[in-house]
């Protein structure tokens, strides 16, 4: 099929020389960090340390340090887990699905989004382990041959989770690393520092930019993209089964897999936008990560946000249509019960505000976009909170109903996970090219085979 690339907007603005592109992208890696960077890093590492201390307290004293109770046995822990797993989804979508769909504009943001996927999954991965009462025995969840002939319970969605999340992390990491190989080679070639050169040499796996290598590389990258694509759908589907396979009203629902996947992409794009808005500003990459990129992402946010809104409406319909009084109660209770505040934060942040993106002006306004994507992040965190906590706090037997209140340790771990995420993002921004050096060059004007005029100027 012939594709007329000239119909697309330029993925990067201007027509920078390739060398200049390299320099812009590599600049943060070779210059001394600015004061601002140091302050931000200090803040994020402080959060990280607070989180680590809170986890330490949890390990020492027990889960009782959290607000979890009977009936709300899961609260911030699993909310954070689902939230972070969701954040990761944008990265995989951008790097794999958009790659397969030949969406060239992705090249400017793919690296970053992939890195965020890995960091988000790392943040997420903490929670299933620390949420257990005896985390030192968390290895029981992994199937391994043992003298008890004791296997995990393969019909438990939590075991599926273990597989889904570990697969996701592995594939994302390999995919990311493979994408980095040509860049490591470029870095190796450019640097004069011996230590760096050694490190880059090792990681570039002897990359010499030969045609054969490129040929192999492209194939591997495509295969990995193909492998990663189903994960975009499967991981959050499996995560949603944690709830859908349970019988708790508000959980037991077949709508959960698509609803969760849409929500994950929704929140993931919001998070990518949030971070990129800062990165492009700080590192002067506004013409590499352009307004068009942001607008395109805003469109996806609008789409997935509407899907999420649709899911919310369907939940009401199903609550009525199911004929189950408990199900109806749970839905009503979410909106009008003790956690109504959480529900309405969720609805306004996830449904109302993203609808503003119907307006082009708003889509292309960086400050408004920033506000909305942050609200989406808040809203999507609350979505998980409402699903988990509001459903559990009032389930079948009214005798067990109890309100859940988070403790300081809960808050500390939540902020700690943000601390971990942003610390990793900041370190990444200074140690590795945040935009793929190789891929970005392939989309500068003139890099594509074309019969258009601008080739022979």
């Amino acid at each position: 099929m012939a594709i007329d690339y000239s119909l697309e907007l330029a993925a990067i603005e201007g027509n920078p020389p390739l060398k200049e592109l390299d320099e812009i992208i590599i600049k943060p890696m070779v210059t001394k960090p600015s004061r601002k960077y140091q302050i931000v890093l200090a803040i994020t590492t402080s959060l990280l340390i607070i989180g680590a201390i809170c986890i330490g307290i949890t390990f020492y004293y027990g889960i009782g340090m959290w607000g979890n109770n009977q009936p709300v046995a899961w609260a911030f822990d699993i909310t954070n887990f689902v939230f972070w797993i969701g954040i990761g989804h944008a990265g995989t979508l951008i790097s794999a699905i958009l790659y397969l769909l030949r969406q060239q504009w992705r090249n400017g943001i793919a690296r970053f989004a992939e890195a965020m996927t890995i960091f988000a999954v790392m943040c997420a991965g903490i929670f299933p382990i620390i949420h257990t009462g005896r985390p030192w025995l968390a290895g029981y969840l992994i199937p391994y041959p043992n003298q008890h002939v004791m296997w995990p319970n393969f019909i438990s969605p939590l075991v599926w989770d273990v597989f889904a999340v570990s697969t996701y992390f592995t594939v994302s990491l390999v995919f990311w690393y493979v994408g980095l190989i040509p860049d490591f080679a470029t870095l190796r070639d450019r640097t004069t520092n011996k230590i760096r050169k050694t490190i880059y040499s090792v990681f570039s796996l002897g990359w010499r930019n030969s045609s054969r290598q490129w040929q192999h590389y492209e194939k591997v990258y495509m295969i990995l993209a193909g492998l990663a694509t189903p994960l975009v759908l499967s991981v959050h589907t499996v995560v949603s089964w944690d709830f859908a396979a349970a019988i708790i009203p508000g959980w037991h629902s077949t709508i959960f897999p698509p609803y969760f996947v849409a929500g994950a992409i929704f929140s993931g794009f919001a998070m990518v936008s949030t971070v990129l808005i800062f990165i492009r500003k700080i590192f002067d990459m506004e013409h590499i990560i352009t307004l068009d990129h942001l607008e395109k992402m805003n469109k996806i946010i609008l789409l997935t946000g509407s899907m999420v809104g649709y899911a919310y409406i369907i939940e009401w319909f199903m609550a009525w249509y199911s004929g189950s009084p408990v199900e109806l109660f749970t839905t009503l209770n979410r909106a009008f019960g003790p956690y109504a505040w959480g529900y309405w934060i969720m609805v306004s942040c996830n449904v109302f505000f993203p609808q503003l993106f119907w307006f082009k002006k708003i889509r292309r306004s960086v400050p408004i976009t920033l506000v909305i994507v942050i609200l989406v992040n808040v809203g999507m965190w609350f979505e998980r909170f409402v699903i988990i906590v509001a459903s559990l706090s009032r389930d079948f037997l009214p005798s067990s109903w109890h309100y859940y209140k988070p403790t300081l340790v809960d808050m500390g771990i939540l902020f700690g996970s943000f601390g971990l995420f942003f610390t990793l993002v900041l370190l990444f921004a200074r140690t590795l090219p945040v935009v793929s050096l190789a891929e970005i060059k392939s989309i500068v004007p003139g890099a594509q085979p074309s019969h258009g005029e601008n080739q022979h100027e």
Binding site: L141, M150, I247, F396, L397, P398, S399, W401
Partner: protein, 1033 residues
Amino acid sequence: MVEIKNEMDPKDKKEALDTDYWRSFKELFKDTSTIDSSHNEFGKSVTEDFDPSKLKGISRRKFIALVSASAALAGAGCSDYRSKGFIVPYNQMPEEVTVGNPTYYASTSTSCTHSCGVLIKTREGRPIKVDGNPDHPVSKGKTCAKCQASIINLYDPDRLEFPLERSGNEFLKRDWKVVDDAIISALNNSSSKQIAIITHTVNSPTSKKVLDDFVQKYPNTKIYSYELFNEQIRNSAWKKCYGTDNFPLINWDQAKIIVGLETDFLGIDGNKVETTRLFSDGRNFHQTDNFNRLYIFEGSISVTGMNADYRIKLRPDAQYELVLSLLNELDKKGISIPAGSQAYSGYSLDSFAQKYSVSKNRLNLLVKDLIKNQGSSLVYPGRTLPEEVHVAANILNEALSNTKLYRTDAAETPVLSLTSKDDIARLVQDINSGNVAVVIHYDSDPVYHLPKDFSYTDAVKKVPMIISMVGSKNDSSALGNYILPINHDFESWGDFKPRSGFYSMQQPVIDPIFDTRQKEVILLTWLKGKPVVYDDQIYHNYLKNNWEQNIYPGINSKMNFTEFWNAALHDGVVIFEESVPSLGSFDKSAGNSLPKPSSNHSGFVVALRESYQAGDGKFLNNGWMLELPHPVSKITWDNYAAISNKTAKSLNVDDGDFISIQVGNRKLEIPAFIQPGAADNTVTIELGFGRKVVGIVGTGVGFDASVLMSKAGDFSPWIYEGSNITKGSGSYKLASTMEHHLFDNELTTNVAQKRKIIQEGTVEEYKKDPNFLNAPKPNEEESLYHKHPYPGVKWGMVVDLNKCIGCGDCVIACVSENNIPIVGKDQVLVSREMQWLRVDRYYSGTIEEPTVSNQLMLCQQCDNAPCENVCPVAATTHSPDGLNQMIYNRCVGTRYCSNNCPYKVRRFNFFNYRDHFKDHFQQSQLFSLAANPEVTVRSRGVMEKCTFCIQRIMDARSLAIEEHREFKGSDVKTACQEACNTNAIMFGDENDKNSIIHKYRNHELAYYVLEDLNTKPNVTYLAKLRNTETEVA
């Protein structure tokens, strides 16, 4: 094996030396030390002595074995699993003990004044569980929660371990000998001054004899006996009407209509163990024609009120008017009233109904019922009501010839009557005038219990010698000179005679844990005078002699005394023929002295009740009891002022806000609690809390409402009219195990009924159509998973909600049997209580007139258990006999099972709860002795739940195998079932077609909670039938 050469060949050595190369002058000039060292290139090292040739005996395999052994050692040595000590076998095997098998001893509990017979289960010499003694004629194998919980009073780390003597503001450890000497000389020097012994109820004849002996030796001794709550008013009213001393026992099971006036006979009034059993006999759905009907008029909901068919809220000071109005109404209806009409004329039921906004229909129905059921109805006023109510009720019962319900075959005959309050006032007077030399608090706490305006506290400080014999420190002992630690029941000998016709025997089941003595022994030691002799058999022998000489001859036993004595101890009871004093005949002039009720009830009325949890304060240091949710409010660890919603609104207070109560010049600040169904302008507070001197557990628990009591007690010692209540400052957190205020909105009202969790009907409906309930039975639907085959037995439980009164005795039994930890108020506040078994209390209707439904909730052991398939590590599995098992060692604590349990009966160890509580007392060596060795003590991070007492099932199974017989469902009794006074809990084999379980699972009244989830629960509920009439709301 290749031989490794250690040394150079001598030839090579020579050559090496002959080289032309040299590295130093020393070498060049062939210095000997250099030559030597050149042989040893690497100098002296640790491997010097390592000679591989010597290792020939060690094979490769052995080497690897050694390496791995050292690795394992290093691994084990560095692990955190500390040695928990050794299990030491008996050096000398005691008789009757088989290690690993429990031994049961019959004894008597003195947790309350009713002296129930108990069977104490001991393991390796330590008591671990209390159950009822089936041979006991009153308790019949049942016990109450307090009795069950008394076991941790034995192992209370706050128990006194040795005698203490005051020195300044401190108490110092003393030897018994020193203490005894000092006290004996004080007793001897008391000369003509009074020696006051203050005790609780004494219903042990031999204990009474000890006191008599004491009085004989020291004739200046006076004995005062008191109880915080007692039957004195009821008895004095009885005496006025019938001329005899004691109110008779009642055949509750034969009463068709029971009218309770501010009474909680199913809870704390009277002998609960017996009354509840007899009452529930009258609520048998197989005999709907004999179904009793319970009317309750009360100020705040009690256990009895929860079980009433018609519960009418009424302020306690209006009860008198109610009885007078009923008398008047009955008189009008042609019943002859055996009293002059001047007492009640003018009190019409209509105007009463209007004045107190009581439903007239209900009152009319009540009158109709009373007339229809003459001879089998009973009007029963509470013990806290004033005398005139009791007299009027006696007249009413006499008029309806309800006296037929009074028992003539048995009676309560006190061994020692309680002291009147005038005598106590006189004691205080005597103390103040310096006429009392010694005060002995004989296992009592008058400083805490007596109304404060006796000024006993101030007075007793003037006594030169105050001796407190107590188990652990209390408010009274803190004022004394000597604190003498006494034995727990389980370390004591005794005999009790709470009623005519039998004795209940007490024998120790464990040696005194500390340097304590039985209180009778202390007195006997003093009686012996100098030289001080103590012998731990002293009271045993005294008891035996007393029986041999004074009691045994009157019993006409065919056995010789030794045989008789051993049999008595073995059985725990001695039943014999005894004549019962006659009831006396009714004195028609009794009604003449009835006063006119004060027509105007203005202001608030304060009603004081005994605590379900703390008793009279005796159980305030008992974590099991304090954590037992209040049967009605479900509040733990506190008492509170129960007020109605309307009153709360008018005072502008919410749950937990302090209110300030003023009665006369006595004041109390206490948090309010909005009790649905409470009468307006009535404040109900439970006593027994807020002791100032108490152990770790009870410190700071609750509020001492006894400060409101007055010795004058114009109305009654426990009910105060005309008190003034204002909103106090601040608020307080009350830890409840259930949410309040489900009346608030349409969403949450009657939600348990809407969801068919509670399914009920009326007797009328059931008679008309036995299948009225039409509850779906579990059906065989297709399942993704294979069906469990259940060969052999399959465990099932049936809970008869007609019989369950919601008292919570079963909860304590479960706690005791299954080593369930105490979590403390802070954890109950965040809803982390650990009890495996709970009594759910649901209100329906309005907050003003709620209907209460109770439901025992425990693991339903579902066939399709939602918890089982979600556990990622298979820590909860299905057993072939239908249990959802919990494998603690495998559990990693994801809590997924708990989330997915629709019944929310799983409990998670959010902390190491044994360590979590104040001072870690649950981990103390002493407290740990209360643990059942058959049940694992769970660690932090592990889920736990009810498994139908799996340890008992396993015990019974091995016994059946050992005895080569078929294992039957009836072989096993769960702890809750054993404790249930009303036999509401039944347990057995569903597969056994002849079993009661099988029968009831298919009964028309049977239903399953959340049956529509297809969890296929194995706990069957038999729907409650209310004996109400359709047209009367």
